[in-house]
């Protein structure tokens, strides 16, 4: 199968996945106790006021009817109206999506920037002190929750070392966004880098022992050229796959990181909507996350195929 046909098939597969996720989320959010009307009315809630709001939102209908309405709107591209904010849920998701996308991309790139040189160093200096340090220290780091890492980074780089970065927030315009997102992206990167370092080091070691590397060395290529041109290029294929597989983990981490760094992204929207029992927004965000994860998996496969011509579909 050709690459475009493969991509088309995978995108089509999104439809049943999204459908499945939507049913699951719809049921889950309605099964947990808690009532958006009570959230909004606070302790001024009376049975009459609650009933009025439920009727306005259609929550007084049966679950299947509610789901049918939800699907009917979805088919027309309408994700419904936020119960809490009374604005379009789709619009909210679109507003917040760029922040999360930026954070994940930035975090992923930073993870590679950290992992590749460290893994290369560890592989080259196999079993020596620096190798052990590179393998051990990040592993310990993996044990620190991103929540804590984020606060420490803020304390150090946003307060004590001369305010290099803002204390959370997203800023205005692309340069400010990038500056605001550096520490959160670093937090995300630090959480995933240890896994990348270990897999890339292992892959590099395997590659560096293969015959074509010996051949390259025998041809008199410099060690730098051997490592960068022939070693890394082949070893990195597996790392891309590892990064792709861990993307769900990365997305999960952004939820926490967005809270700590006061980033108005999808993760924050998700958490707050759950607390507010804003059913429509929870559904919309979950759908967005599901589509995002599936698309990232797809992207990983495509990149994998481009890097490794042996991959066929």
């Amino acid at each position: 199968m050709s690459l475009p046909a493969y991509v088309a098939r995978r995108i089509l597969a999104l439809v049943p996945i999204a459908l499945g996720v939507s049913i699951l989320v719809f049921l889950l959010i309605h099964l947990i106790p808690g009532d958006p009307a009570r959230t909004i009315l606070g302790n001024k809630a009376t049975p009459e006021k609650i009933a009025l709001l439920h009727h306005e939102w259609g929550l007084d209908r049966s679950l299947p009817v509610q789901y049918a309405k939800f699907m009917e709107r979805l088919v027309h591209g309408d994700l419904g109206t936020s119960l809490f904010y009374n604005v379009g849920a789709g619009g909210l998701v679109i507003d917040k999506l760029p922040v999360t996308l930026f954070l994940i991309t930035f975090g992923g790139l930073l993870a590679l920037v950290i992992a590749i040189p460290l893994a290369a160093l560890a592989a080259v200096r196999r079993d020596r002190a620096s190798d052990h340090v590179i393998r051990a220290v990040p592993l310990v780091g993996l044990g620190f929750p991103p929540f804590w890492v984020g606060i420490v980074l803020l304390l150090v780089f946003a307060l004590h070392l001369g305010r290099l970065f803002p204390v959370g927030g997203y800023g205005e315009g692309f340069p400010e966004h990038a500056r605001s997102l550096f520490l959160p992206a670093l937090t995300v990167a630090l959480s995933i880098a240890p896994i990348l370092i270990r897999s890339l080091r292992a892959a590099l070691l395997e590659v560096l022992e293969s015959d074509y590397i010996t051949t390259a060395r025998a041809k008199g290529l410099t060690e730098r050229r051997v490592l960068l041109r022939h070693g890394l290029r082949n070893a990195i294929i597996s790392t891309v796959a590892v990064l792709g597989v861990n993307i769900a983990f990365l997305v999960g981490n952004t939820v926490i990181v967005e809270q700590v760094f006061d980033l108005p992204g999808l993760g924050q929207l998700m958490i707050n909507s759950i607390f507010q029992r804003d059913f429509t927004v929870v559904q919309a965000v979950t759908l967005a996350f599901a589509v995002l994860v599936v698309l990232v998996y797809l992207l990983t496969d495509v990149v994998h195929a481009l890097l490794d011509p042996r991959v066929r579909f």
Partner: protein, 522 residues
């Protein structure tokens, strides 16, 4: 490549990236506290960070404080509450006259008041605003139920005709939902109007990013000459306590709303930061659901209430920043009875009460607590220890706060927690809610408590306009309800605000509102 140069490459790449990104936009901020000057400097922008986002700006249908305190910068009422939380003073009105039968109130409006769009405010706007507010069935309309009709005989006069004598009338008129808006929503639909409301207040609508921030800017037509001092105010939504505190220290925000109790001491010792505790009307209660059989026994409820060591709770849970409660009314509300003894900590009396009850050996009871709510969990544990010797065994059920709140309201609990903050400078709203199971609409604060004598007293107080006899009635209500122990009165706690010390004139009223026209950045 030698290992050393590889290491160099690594260090270089990370540092270069950090520097490049940090250099990208290092303008703004930084120069917050420049030259100190006299009393009130004009200009500047204030940022207030809060734990919750604003929900809605429809003043007539919103119940969330984080929306109300903002929209009060845009909408003003005929009368307003003074700094003590009890006195009402003229605001958009100059004065009022009451007919001898108490059924007609005639207000003279303040001349020269304009809306932020430049149009003058007239009696027609007042009539429209309050007629619209009292129509709102799922909003605050119920507090205007005493009004029969409103007329506007001339542009500066508004007349209210009441159905019956109504003592809390002036306090109700001062409620934010009775704030004045342009007649017919200035030609827009109701929904459109409240997406960017217009009022007579010191600030006017600028922009809102849902889930992130709300910004208001100076109203150039404001009736108080020279005010407001600030060019704009932005409220951001920062759910993490730690992040808000760091942002305050970095002067990225100027006001940190509600830092947790355990951060108060630290913030008091933070340079360039003021930690303020404003007397509030917030009262915290232990809820006792009478549909759980042992709790329907008044002796059991008294026993539990006697066993609450309020001083210990204030000391260990609030870090000393609070006051033991003796009444279900807070000290900042009119007719609060300071000398009403309430029920205070006394284990001997607790034992004696339990012995008189139908459960002298005690019983098992479940306490509903919020899973993230530290104060509730701590109070729960203090009570668990205190009640153990009496044979009352508390088990805990943890729920996330929305579930907890829904379960309390639906009365699916035995013991639980709840609190109240006042909206008006009159006890009637809270008294009706707390003890009038029918008219209050909440089955007496979700407890199922019924005492017809107390209800009769409260109805009498609603229609009695003599201050002294009204005070007497509310004193009786407070004494009787304390003995009925329908709620465990826990404590009164202040509103907590940490702010940069160049913020001048910031004062939070007992109802939680603040007048930002008085605030400047020094």
């Amino acid at each position: 490549m030698s290992p050393t140069s590889l290491r160099g490459l690594l260090a270089l790449s990370v540092v270069a990236l950090a520097v490049a990104v940090s250099a990208c936009g290092s303008s703004k901020n930084g120069s917050g506290a420049d030259d100190a000057s006299t009393a009130h400097k004009r200009g500047g922008s204030l940022t207030i960070a809060r734990i919750e986002d604003s929900q809605s700006f429809d003043k007539t249908n919103v119940f969330q404080n984080e929306s109300i305190w903002l929209l009060e910068q845009i909408h003003e009422s005929l009368y307003t509450v003074d700094k003590d939380g009890k006195t009402l003073k003229p605001w958009l009105a100059l004065s009022y006259a009451k007919s001898s039968d108490g059924l007609t109130y005639t207000f003279k409006l303040r001349p020269g008041v304009k809306f932020s769009d430049g149009k003058p405010m007239t009696s027609a706007d007042v009539k429209f605003s309050i007629d619209d507010a009292r129509k709102q069935a799922k909003g605050w309309g119920y507090l205007d139920a005493a009004i029969k009709s409103i007329s506007a005989p001339d542009p500066e006069t508004v007349v209210f005709n009441l159905k019956y004598r109504w003592a809390p009338f002036l306090a109700d008129i001062a409620l934010f939902s009775n704030g004045i808006i342009p007649e017919n929503f200035g030609g827009e639909s109701r929904k459109q109007f409240y997406e960017h409301p217009v009022g007579t207040g010191p600030f006017m609508w600028d922009k809102r990013e849902v889930g992130k921030s709300v910004t208001f800017k100076r109203n150039p037509n404001y009736w108080q000459k020279g005010k407001p001092y600030l060019d704009s105010v932005t409220w951001t939504f920062v759910s993490e306590d730690n992040t808000r505190e760091l942002q305050l220290r970095g002067n990225q925000i100027q006001v940190d709303e509600f830092p947790p109790f355990n951060a108060i001491k630290k913030l008091q010792n933070t340079p360039d930061v003021k930690m303020a505790l404003f007397p509030s009307t917030r009262t915290d209660y232990l809820e006792m659901n009478e549909s759980y059989k042992p709790l329907a026994d008044v002796h059991v409820r008294r026993a539990i209430s006697y066993a609450i060591d309020r001083q210990a709770i204030v000391k260990s849970v609030l870090f000393g920043n609070g006051q033991a409660a003796n009444s279900f009314l807070p000290p900042q509300v009119p007719f609060y009875a300071k000398d009403s003894p309430g029920i205070q900590y006394d284990i001997a009396k607790a034992k004696a009460e339990l012995a008189q009850s139908a459960y002298p050996k005690g019983f098992k009871v479940e306490m509903l607590v919020g899973s993230g709510a530290q104060t509730e969990n701590q109070i729960g544990q203090i009570m668990q220890q205190a009640l153990k010797p009496l044979g009352i065994q508390i088990t805990f059920r943890q729920e996330d706060t929305s579930t907890e709140f829904s379960d309390i309201q639906a009365r699916k609990y035995a013991l639980g927690f709840c609190y109240w903050t006042m909206d008006i400078a009159d006890p009637d709203e809270l008294v009706t809610f707390a003890i009038d199971s029918k008219a209050g609409g909440a089955e007496s604060f979700y407890t199922g408590y019924e005492n017809p004598d107390v209800v009769a007293l409260s109805h009498k107080a609603q229609h009695d306009e003599d201050i002294d006899s009204r005070a007497q009635l509310y004193k009786q209500i407070q004494d009787m309800t304390a003995q009925d122990a329908f709620l465990g009165y826990l404590y009164y706690s202040p509103f907590r605000y940490a702010y940069r010390d160049n913020v001048k004139g910031f004062f939070v009223y007992p109802l939680g509102n603040y007048h930002l026209e008085d605030v400047s950045l020094g």
